[in-house]
């Protein structure tokens, strides 16, 4: 069989990788990006694993595949791929994809400064800032986010009696603010985060069962956010997000920042439109803002925005030979 070839623009959003596929995308069927996503998952999952898993990718790899928009209002269609599957929407992946596609002139927005993208989660509008040929930042509004549980007290493995909040920003997050017990993120190593987080998450999910009111598939605490004092003068807070089996987000985390904004706003610690600079373990920053307050499922919620930046680090031509026993890639997770 002939080798399959995929071309990509490689880069990262504040440290987290983005592999944007610009050539070689399979033909998909359907009337929306959501249909496309279902068709892709059913028929072409090997493309995802081949491009995301080792040896071409690794545990943290994620990316996107570009399609012409099906909705005529939109400038581009984006399908997200990553190691665990095809997320309907991915914050850092979105910022990277918009940046690379604009810098490489793959998309020409109808209105300067704005890209309207069709994602499997729906239409997402990006506002971008351009200086010379470079895109300096991309900002987008995320989905409804809210504080689900406030000041929950529990006795957790390794860290003992602690208080934490649970907030939703696309995933359910258990957010740990600095306190006795675990101290703060600044006192933890990556090995600590990888060791403690899964144990803590297991215990939390025995105690509480958060569930999305309109999507029963979204349930339970999947993400753990450890926070600490910012290291940079112009940051508001530092964080590390643990998810999956052994992943620590390299970026300040898009959905995590949204959940954090909802938590802080509900606790009266952050005003509408106030700038919240979220710092990652690498010292890279996202700017988050509460754009508006809303009522969602009869409860107070917010619409958050997340602004970040991306850099192109390479261009690749992937060769996938079916004579390679690992042409689909392999994962150790």
């Amino acid at each position: 069989m002939k080798d399959k070839i995929f071309h990509s623009i490689e880069g990262h959003t504040c440290g987290n990788p983005v592999r944007m596929i610009i050539k070689g995308a399979p033909k998909l069927k359907g009337n929306s990006m959501s249909d496309y996503r279902n068709y892709f998952i059913k028929n072409f999952d090997w493309i995802r694993t081949s491009l995301m898993f080792e040896p071409r990718g690794h545990d943290m790899m994620s990316g996107s595949i570009l399609y012409p928009a099906l909705n005529k209002k939109c400038d581009v269609g984006i399908l997200f791929i990553e190691t665990t599957g095809c997320l309907p929407m991915c914050g850092h992946g979105f910022i990277g994809t918009i940046t690379f596609a604009l810098e490489k002139k793959i998309i020409k927005p109808k209105k300067i400064g704005i890209v309207i993208a069709e994602t499997p989660a729906g239409i997402v509008t990006a506002e971008y800032k351009k200086v010379g040929n470079k895109i300096k930042s991309v900002k987008f509004k995320n989905i409804e986010s809210w504080l689900e549980i406030k000041n929950f007290q529990a006795n957790l493995p390794e860290i003992g009696k602690v208080k934490f909040d649970v907030a939703y920003g696309g995933n359910f997050y258990a957010i740990f603010d600095p306190q006795e017990g675990f101290g703060s993120l600044n006192k933890m190593t990556a090995a600590d985060v990888l060791r403690i987080s899964p144990k803590v998450r297991d215990e939390i999910n025995k105690l509480i069962k958060p569930i999305h009111p309109f999507n029963k598939n979204i349930k339970g605490v999947t993400h753990i956010m450890w926070t600490g004092k910012a290291k940079l003068k112009n940051s508001s807070s530092r964080n590390a997000v643990f998810y999956g089996k052994n992943a620590i987000d390299r970026s300040p985390c898009g959905t995590g920042t949204s959940a954090r904004l909802a938590q802080l706003h509900a606790k009266g610690k952050l005003k509408i439109k106030e700038k919240f600079v979220h710092e990652s373990i690498l010292g890279t920053q996202f700017v988050g803002r509460v754009e508006s307050e809303i009522i969602f499922n009869n409860k107070k919620a917010i619409i958050p925005s997340v602004e970040g930046w991306s850099v192109i680090t390479g261009e690749s031509k992937f060769i996938i030979s079916k004579s390679d026993p690992f042409y689909k890639g392999f994962s150790i997770i």
Binding site: G15, R250, T313, E315
Partner: protein
């Protein structure tokens, strides 16, 4: 700076990034001087190529240079996650495969012979071609030997362990995983790493001087072996761990050499008899002892290692001075977040 052009491949699961252009080649006269120059002046390029976001925790890059000594086709500098290494088996197989793929080798008749000049000496490869494509690669590794049998260590969580200490380009603490009830599949990576780190810490308490090169005296690499194979036709299963946390995806070239020396010395493997060494993914290297000699009560063998590599991509590595993390990063186990 112009982009660095590389071809990526994997050798039985483990990645190799062969640098073809765009990487400034040091002008020093000897290979060691060039390595030292890179360490001092251009170490950021190694990190850019191997570490995130362009690489990953397993990436190894190989700088391919015109031959610096007579009788060789290329001089190589092998760059790993932490350092520049004299020799690396999976990198040799990946580099030979890549050079034939990129049509850098004139000879076309199989097997194609390529002689690499490395810090460990001259490594001769034979590249076997089938239907115009590389089928597999064999190379002769450095002298390998079993230094210690049943060396005893005591660990906190795994009790007393018997270790065979063998050299195959690097020292390996060879440990029977079945006796410790540790399963050698990658889904069990955390336990494999935890146990290997305990063994490695104990091994580092003693020096194991190489009989012919006293500078080599540390045994920190751990090679687990097992009888539980994915493919029953293989001779044995192996998983090699480089502490603090890297598990070789391949059966490990220098590790297989050490294992062949161990088995040969113990009388469990005959001269020129093939040893099918299965790695954690079920892929294999075939090792064999092609010669042996006794010197000062140590039995030295010459191992030949055979394996396959596959091209995975042709990439341009782009640098951006405005990127605050241009030189890459590692999220390691040490250091506070």
């Amino acid at each position: 700076m112009e982009p660095i052009q590389v071809i990526d491949s994997h050798t039985e699961g483990n990645p190799t990034r062969v640098i073809l252009s765009g990487f400034p080649i040091p002008k020093n006269k000897t290979l060691l001087e060039r390595v030292n120059y890179l360490k001092k002046k251009q170490d950021h390029l190694r990190k850019i190529l191997n570490h995130e976001p362009r690489g990953n925790g397993m990436m190894c890059s190989v700088l391919v240079m015109p031959p610096m000594i007579r009788g060789c086709d290329y001089s190589l500098i092998i760059m790993e996650q932490d350092e520049y290494v004299p020799m690396c088996g999976h990198c040799i197989i990946g580099t030979a495969t890549t050079l034939v793929y990129a049509k850098k080798i004139k000879q076309k008749k199989s097997p194609v012979t390529i002689k690499f000049h490395t810090l460990a000496g001259i490594v001769e490869c034979k590249v076997y071609i089938k239907n115009g494509n590389v089928d597999y690669v064999s190379f002769i590794n450095v002298e390998s030997f079993l230094l210690n049998q049943n060396y005893k260590i005591k660990t906190k969580n795994y009790g007393k362990i018997n270790v065979d200490v063998a050299f195959g380009g690097d020292y390996y603490a060879i440990v029977n995983a079945d006796k410790l009830k540790i399963k050698l599949n990658l889904q069990n990576d955390q336990e494999i790493i935890k146990c290997a780190n305990e063994i490695s810490a104990e091994m580092l308490k003693k020096k194991f001087p190489h009989p012919k090169n006293k500078k080599i005296n540390r045994c920190y690499m751990v090679q687990f072996i097992s009888n539980k194979k994915i493919n029953k036709k293989n001779s044995s299963k192996t998983t090699v761990v480089a502490p603090p946390g890297a598990i070789d995806r391949s059966p490990c070239g220098t590790g297989t050499s050490a294992r062949v020396a161990q088995l040969f010395t113990k009388g469990k493997l005959k001269l020129n008899k093939k040893f099918h060494n299965e790695g954690p993914l079920g892929t294999k290297f075939i090792g064999k002892a092609i010669s042996s000699k006794m010197e000062n009560k140590i039995l030295y063998i010459r191992p030949q290692i055979t394996g396959r590599a596959y091209i995975t991509g042709i990439n341009q590595i782009i640098l951006d001075k405005n990127d605050p993390i241009q030189n890459g990063f590692r999220v390691g186990s040490k250091g506070k977040l």
